[in-house]
């Protein structure tokens, strides 16, 4: 590939950052970014950091994680107000709702996730359904101090992707009801599935005695899902399932139920057969681009659009396909990547 215009903007920025970075470093004052994460640093942050490392721009990053508990958010907000960073970075739907809040025009009342940080730019990432969660009205310009990146391929596209592999009329999905993100995705999957004549079998993960999702219930859920005769087990943007993805997919494979991953982590950290995913590292780099424009090119976040990562990849685990003896259509191989564990 020699050039690519929109992608060029992205890749070219990376290259330019690497080449012209030192020179620019002298010209730019150090900026601070306050990262608020859901479950610690991920590949996304690695991509974010590597982008700025290549650019060699002076950036001070403060990292705070909610550790999957929204109760920790209040303290973090206080810290932000104390530290007064140049920009706040929020990871995931829950964190972003807590910091950037809903779009004021879409709120159901003053208590419905009001914006908490309004005096400085907020850049969110890894929000799979920013419109469904009413953080923004539509992709594009927000008109407020918020911009960001979504990583989730549209549900319809995901269903089409599954159909490109083999005929699909029934899906099973195991999800965590306590995760807003996951519930939204499952609801959308059900709705669009109906439209596309795909039946969605839903298996919510029950809570254990501590009120947390119960990992012990997963084998039973997988067995039940396999018993439905589904063609795929859908692995949505669910942090809990993501944590146990290897176990879930291993169990599913033992029932010869292939898994479809909607996010990269599910695919790379499990034995899912196939996925249409946004690479996390790329999500981080794309988020870094927006941050760079705000901090170092003094652009107004209201004038930087919220976008879905412009790069998705069809990936097939060839080893899993061989094990399951479920091979993709030859036509899919024209554009899908095959990977081995």
């Amino acid at each position: 590939m020699r050039s690519l215009s929109r992608r060029n903007l992205f890749l070219g920025s990376l290259a330019a950052g690497a080449i012209a970075g030192p020179a620019r470093a002298f010209a730019r004052a150090e900026k601070s970014v306050f990262m608020v994460l859901w479950r610690g640093e991920t590949e996304v942050e690695a991509g974010f950091r590597s982008y700025f490392e290549r650019s060699n721009v002076p950036l001070n990053i403060v990292v705070r994680s909610l550790d999957r508990n929204t109760a920790n958010l209040e303290a973090i907000l206080d810290e932000i107000n104390d530290v007064k960073p140049d920009l706040v970075y929020s990871w995931g739907t829950s964190v972003t709702l807590g910091i950037a809040g809903r779009d004021p025009l879409l709120m159901d009342g003053p208590s419905d996730f009001p914006p908490q940080i309004t005096d400085r730019p907020v850049v969110f990432t890894m929000v799979s359904q920013p419109i469904k969660s009413r953080i923004i009205k539509r992709f594009g310009l927000t008109g407020r101090n918020v911009t960001g990146v979504s990583h989730l391929v549209p549900i319809q596209t995901q269903i089409e992707a599954m159909r490109a592999y083999m005929p699909v009329d029934r899906l099973s999905v195991i999800f965590t009801p306590s995760e807003t993100n996951s519930v939204l995705a499952v609801n959308q999957l059900t709705e669009i599935g109906q439209r596309m004549n795909v039946r969605v079998e839903k298996f919510p993960v029950p809570n254990n005695l501590q009120g947390q999702p119960d990992p012990d219930s997963l084998p039973q859920l997988v067995s039940a899902a396999a018993a439905t005769g589904s063609q795929f087990l859908y692995l949505g943007p669910d942090s809990f399932i993501g944590q146990y993805a290897a176990q879930v997919t291993g169990l599913a494979n033992s029932f010869r139920l292939p898994s479809f991953a909607s996010v990269e982590r599910m695919l790379s950290a499990s034995d899912a057969l196939y996925g249409l995913v946004a690479p996390y590292r790329k999500v981080g780099e794309f988020t870094a681009m927006k941050v760079e424009r705000i901090l170092f090119e003094n652009e107004d976040p209201a004038l930087i659009p919220v976008e879905v990562l412009p790069e998705f990849a069809y990936r097939i685990r060839a080893d899993i396909a061989r094990d399951l003896q479920i091979f993709p259509r030859l036509s899919l191989l024209e554009y899908a990547e095959t990977i081995e564990n």
């Binding site: 020699r2 050039s3 549209p154 790069e311 069809y314 396909a321 554009y335 990547e337």
Partner: protein, 1122 residues
């Protein structure tokens, strides 16, 4: 046998006519004496005039002469007894001076010698103071002594003639001179022009075919990549968000070692992905599913397709590759075509010269020696002082008889000569076509192979990728889908089959799946060599390497199929299967057929133009002079010295006509007795103009060709001028109607004016008008200017049409008018047959404007030829056996009635229309014939062809049936119509046949087996019907309007006829369109056919009831007969 005729007559000058009539009556009744009439007459007259003179000198007594004519088996005997002094004409010797003038009171020496020479037996005795003569005549007594004395022995062997007892024979010695040279030059020019045209057209076509084929080399890849991107976009991803696109492009490019560049752009033209540096000029998004590309500009081929998502274009995919390979191939093609063109020319040029020299030279030799013989005799006659003009005329007549028989032979041999020359002319074109196809074919096959290779290797790569990822051929899922898609990407691919190593077909995509195993097996049988197979297997077992080159593919032609095989390699680089690709070579066959059709069109055009030129030369140098000589011989035969000819012809023909004129004038001056002779008035003999019917052929052909070559492009061309927001089809119809309307009226006025100021002038005015109109097409910028240009062209078209038909009418022998008008029709049809094809070729190769330039040039040529060839005056003689101005008025004088103001012309038209026969013929025959032509043939037949699955070319081939029927049969049937008369039956039968031709297609379809071949046969039948009816219509109408013809001349009748006929042309599409609102095309055609049959039947019944001629004429004829 006839009885003996006797005549007793006093020897007086006034009784000479009685004697001649008496001899004529005998010779008419006694067939063996018919040919001897003039010899008998000559002897009888010579003796009678001698006796008359004697009688004048001796007025005291009455000299009664007794003549008897006794019939003989091979001739007759003349007995004569008379009083008077003793004289024996048989005592004159051969040594006496023939030129010496004797006393007027004595029979001259030449006369006596003539008696001896012209009789087979001559006896004289004197009894009872009476002289008794007995002369015997038999056939084939000749002018041996004259010829012996006057003509060089080298030219005529009088001994031979004498011994064979045959009429005057001219030597058949080949003597190529000016005529041969001119015909030779014309044929060579036509040959060179034809070869150069075919060579150039072939090169342009081959260049485009090869450029296209080379440009399309990677089209399968382009289609595959486009479909792959489309599929990857399915579901809503944006073009810029498919990371996989990058991989798809990279993999595709890598397969061809970076020979291609792929570029993806979004709708704004912004480049999203690019794999190389070649510039991409595609600025607009191509139409859905189409590949667009410009092969003419730039250093590389650019092929582009729209990228589609959810049925909407979202970007453009372009494939670029270098032109160098194609350019090198085209330079080679050019060299090869130059070589084969020269080879065809040089190889056949001597043959053409030899054939032309031999055939035309022989005719020219006969002509030359004939002319020389006649000229020498004429010279001797001029130098001879003889007493009897009849004798002089008689001698001329003997010679002319020879000429007549010789010209008849020459005219009769014209078709054979033409066919021989044209066949020889066509040979090099066929040879060139054969060689040209041979030049192109291997290169085309190579491109087919390359395309197949590209498409197949693309699949092979995918299969090998799948195999390497998942483990074997058995892991391939839905491979048929990919094979089908690839096959659809390459229309020439007949099948794609994937087999395992044992040859079992695992996946197949084919037009005809059942045949594929057999086709692959037959390939294996021919390609696979057992020893090589065993050796390969052995070496593989030992070394793991195949002896076959795994990266290459092999191909083998199997009938119309080119089958290529591509090995599929497994993970260990060992073959695990084979991909077979079968390419249907019918596309190559179609290209070859197209080339042959193009060559055929050029050859047809060359031959038609050559025919016109040859006929013109024949007419100028041979036929018209021969007709002139025949005319004079007829006049002399009838003792008619009232006419001479205007100077015409050139060379030998000119000399002989001049000599004959001099003989006539000398005879008039020296004659002493006018008895039995038709002598001119005091102003001397009238110089007459002989008809020149065929002179109009070439200019008319060129003019019609100029309009015919526009046909394939005109609607589309006119549509470009439609103002924005208007329906182009509607405005095209308006412009075309304007042309029709202008020609409709100009044909009417042109016919009137042609009578008044001459066909030549009107032809020239029409040609100038059309040329200006054609030029207007070249410079037209908006609707108004193109509309005006078409009107101007149409106006000129009508004038030329009218002038040409008036010329034909004026120059046709009235009793052979159908033949004359068949020429008119044949010329128009010939132009209509080859014109559209020529126009199509020019437009195809050079664009639309050059077609209009060519049309303008043709019109100008037509005008120039008309200026030099056509006479300003109508001919005095159209029938060489007829007497000019017999009614005391010239043709032009007849036409004096024509002309006048509009009111006068309207009155004339009204008087013609009041002729019931004319009106019935127009309504029942003329209008339906034209309506059937324009509505049925030009509108409904193409629609039926389309409904039967045909295209424009099939439609054109079906329509050709009409032209073929007209061109091949019209001449023969026109002669028959002229011979048998009864024109109403001819016209009605033709109309009914034409109607039947259009009734049958639907009936056939009802039977369940409609087909283009049958439509062609139906069109042929229609053509035969039209061929019978249309040329005969003119003769028929002129026959039904004899009185109006005398009153107004031929022009007004023809003008009115053409006007009403064209009204039929206008009605045809209207009626057809109305029928189409109710019925499908075949049934609409059937109804039009029925209508024609009904009208023709009514017309025929009416004419059978009332007759062809007006009652008054019939009554007059009856009175004269009784």
């Amino acid at each position: 046998m006839t009885e003996t005729y006797s005549l007793e007559v006093e020897a007086k000058n006034e009784n000479l006519a009685t004697l001649i009539d008496w001899i004529q009556t005998f010779c008419t009744n006694h067939k063996p004496a018919t040919e001897l009439e003039f010899k008998i007459q000559l002897i009888a007259e010579e003796l009678f005039l001698y006796l008359t003179k004697q009688n004048v000198n001796d007025q005291a007594r009455e000299n009664i002469v007794n003549f008897s004519l006794i019939p003989e088996t091979n001739g007759a005997s003349l007995k004569l007894d008379t009083e008077g002094s003793d004289f024996n004409p048989l005592e004159a010797t051969e040594t006496e001076d023939l030129t010496a003038k004797t006393d007027d009171n004595q029979i001259d020496v030449l006369g006596l010698l003539m008696i001896r020479e012209l009789t087979t037996k001559a006896e004289y005795n004197r009894k009872n103071n009476r002289n008794h003569f007995l002369f015997s005549f038999s056939e084939f007594t000749t002018l041996k002594s004259e010829i012996k004395d006057d003509v060089n022995d080298n030219i005529v062997d009088t001994k031979d003639i004498d011994s064979q007892k045959e009429p005057l024979v001219f030597p058949e010695r080949c003597r190529p001179r000016v005529i041969t040279l001119r015909i030779c030059v014309i044929l060579l020019l036509m040959l060179s022009a034809g070869v150069a045209t075919i060579g150039a057209l072939n090169f342009i076509k081959f260049e485009r075919i090869l450029m296209n084929a080379t440009a399309e080399r990677y089209d399968p890849i382009l289609r595959e990549v486009q479909r792959t991107i489309n599929e990857s976009l399915r579901g809503g991803l944006t073009l810029s968000s498919t990371r996989t696109t990058e991989g798809v492009l990279d993999r595709s490019v890598a397969d061809f070692d970076d020979a291609i560049t792929l570029v993806v752009k979004d709708l704004e033209g912004e480049v999203l992905f690019r794999t190389g540096d070649l510039p991409d000029a595609q600025t607009t998004v191509p139409p859905f599913g189409k590949i667009v590309g410009d092969i003419t500009t730039g250093e590389e081929f650019s092929r582009s397709m729209a990228i589609i998502q959810d049925g909407t274009p979202v970007g453009t995919l372009s494939l670029l590759h270098n032109k160098n390979v194609a350019s090198a191939g085209i330079i080679k093609i050019k060299e090869q075509l130059e070589f084969v063109s020269w080879a065809s020319l040089l190889l056949f040029l001597p043959l053409l010269i030899i054939v032309t020299t031999f055939m035309v030279g022989r005719i020219e030799g006969r002509f030359y020696y004939g002319v020389l013989t006649v000229e020498k005799i004429c010279r001797s006659l001029r130098n001879t002082s003889v007493s009897s003009e009849v004798w002089r005329i008689q001698k001329s007549l003997e010679i002319f008889r020879g000429i007549q028989s010789w010209t008849r032979e020459m005219t009769g041999s014209r078709p054979f000569l033409l066919i021989s020359l044209l066949t020889t002319l066509a040979m090099p074109f066929l040879f060139l076509g054969f060689l040209s196809v041979r030049v192109l074919e291997p290169k085309l096959l190579h491109e087919f192979k390359t395309q197949t290779q590209n498409a197949s290797e693309n699949i092979t790569r995918k299969i090998e990728y799948a195999v390497s990822s998942f483990g074997g051929l058995h892991t391939l899922r839905d491979a048929e889908h990919v094979l089908d898609r690839t096959r659809l990407s390459s229309p020439a691919l007949s099948f794609l089959a994937l087999t395992n190593q044992s040859g079992e077909i695992l996946h197949l995509s084919a037009d005809n799946p059942l045949k594929v195993p057999q086709q692959i097996a037959s390939l294996s049988a021919t390609v696979e060599q057992p020893v090589m197979g065993w050796l390969d297997q052995y070496v593989q077992e030992i070394s793991g390497v195949s002896l076959r080159n795994s990266n290459s593919f092999s191909s083998e032609s199997e009938g119309e199929l080119l089958i290529s095989e591509f090995p599929i390699l497994g993970t260990d680089s060992k073959p695990i299967g084979t991909l077979y690709a079968g390419v249907d070579l019918s596309t190559t066959a179609e290209i070859k057929r197209d080339i042959w059709i193009d060559i055929g069109v050029v050859v047809l055009a060359v031959i038609l133009i050559s025919v016109e030129l040859l006929l013109l030369l024949f007419s100028l140098y041979l036929i018209r002079p021969a007709a002139a000589i025949n005319f004079l011989s007829f006049r002399l035969h009838n003792r008619d010295l009232r006419f001479t000819l205007k100077t015409m012809g050139s060379g030998a023909a000119k000399r002989i006509i001049k000599s004959l004129d001099q003989i006539i004038r000398q005879s008039i001056e020296t004659t002493r007795s006018t008895t039995g002779l038709k002598m001119p008035g005091p102003e001397g003999p009238l110089s007459v103009r002989i008809s020149s019917l065929s002179y109009v052929r070439l200019p008319l052909f060129l003019f019609c060709l100029s309009e015919a070559i526009l046909r394939p492009i005109l609607p589309q061309f006119l549509g470009n001028f439609a103002p924005a927001g208007n329906d182009p089809n509607f405005l095209t119809g308006i412009v075309m109607s304007g042309f029709m309307a202008a020609s409709l009226f100009s044909v009417l006025f042109g016919s009137f004016l042609s009578e008044r100021i001459g066909a030549r002038r009107i032809f020239l005015i029409g040609a100038v008008s059309s040329a200006l109109g054609m030029c207007g097409h070249l410079f037209a910028a908006e609707f108004a200017s193109i509309f005006f240009s078409r009107i101007l062209t149409g106006f000129g078209y009508g004038l030329v049409y009218a002038a040409a038909q008036v010329h034909v009418a004026q120059h046709s022998d009235p009793i052979k008018r159908t033949t004359g008008f068949s020429l008119f029709l044949a010329v128009i049809v010939a132009a209509e047959i080859c014109g559209p094809a020529i126009g199509g070729i020019i437009a195809d190769r050079f664009g639309n404007l050059p077609v209009f330039m060519a049309a303008t040039i043709l019109v100008i040529f037509s005008g120039v030829i008309c200026f030099f060839l056509l006479s300003r005056f109508a001919p005095d003689v159209t029938d060489i056996s007829a007497i000019p101005f017999e009614n005391g008025s010239k043709f032009e004088e007849l036409s004096e009635h024509a002309g006048g103001g509009l009111l006068q012309q309207f009155k004339i038209a009204k008087s013609i229309m009041l002729n019931r026969r004319f009106s019935v013929a127009i309504i029942c025959f003329a209008i339906p014939a034209k309506a059937l032509l324009t509505g049925g043939l030009f509108l409904l037949i193409p629609l039926i062809v389309y409904l039967n699955g045909g295209g424009a070319s099939e439609s054109a081939r079906v329509l050709m049936g009409y032209g073929i029927a007209i061109l091949l049969l019209v001449s023969t049937f026109a002669h028959l119509a002229d011979r048998w008369k009864k024109f109403s039956l001819w016209v009605a039968t033709g109309s009914i046949l034409a109607g039947i031709g259009f009734v049958v297609p639907h009936s056939w379809i009802l039977l369940g087996d409609g087909g283009l071949l049958f439509l062609f046969a139906a069109t042929l039948l229609f053509g035969i019907g039209q061929m019978l009816a249309i040329p005969t219509q003119i003769s028929f109408l002129l026959q039904t309007t004899e009185r109006q013809l005398i009153m107004h001349g031929v022009g007004p009748i023809l003008g009115l006829f053409r006007f009403l006929e064209r009204f039929g042309s206008f009605l045809g599409p209207v009626i057809a369109s109305l029928l189409l609102l109710i019925f499908p095309p075949a049934i609409a055609l059937q109804w039009m056919g029925f209508g024609t049959i009904i009208l023709a039947s009514i017309g025929m019944s009416w004419f059978l009831a009332v007759g062809q001629n007006e009652e008054e004429d019939e009554i007059n004829a009856l009175i004269i007969e009784t």
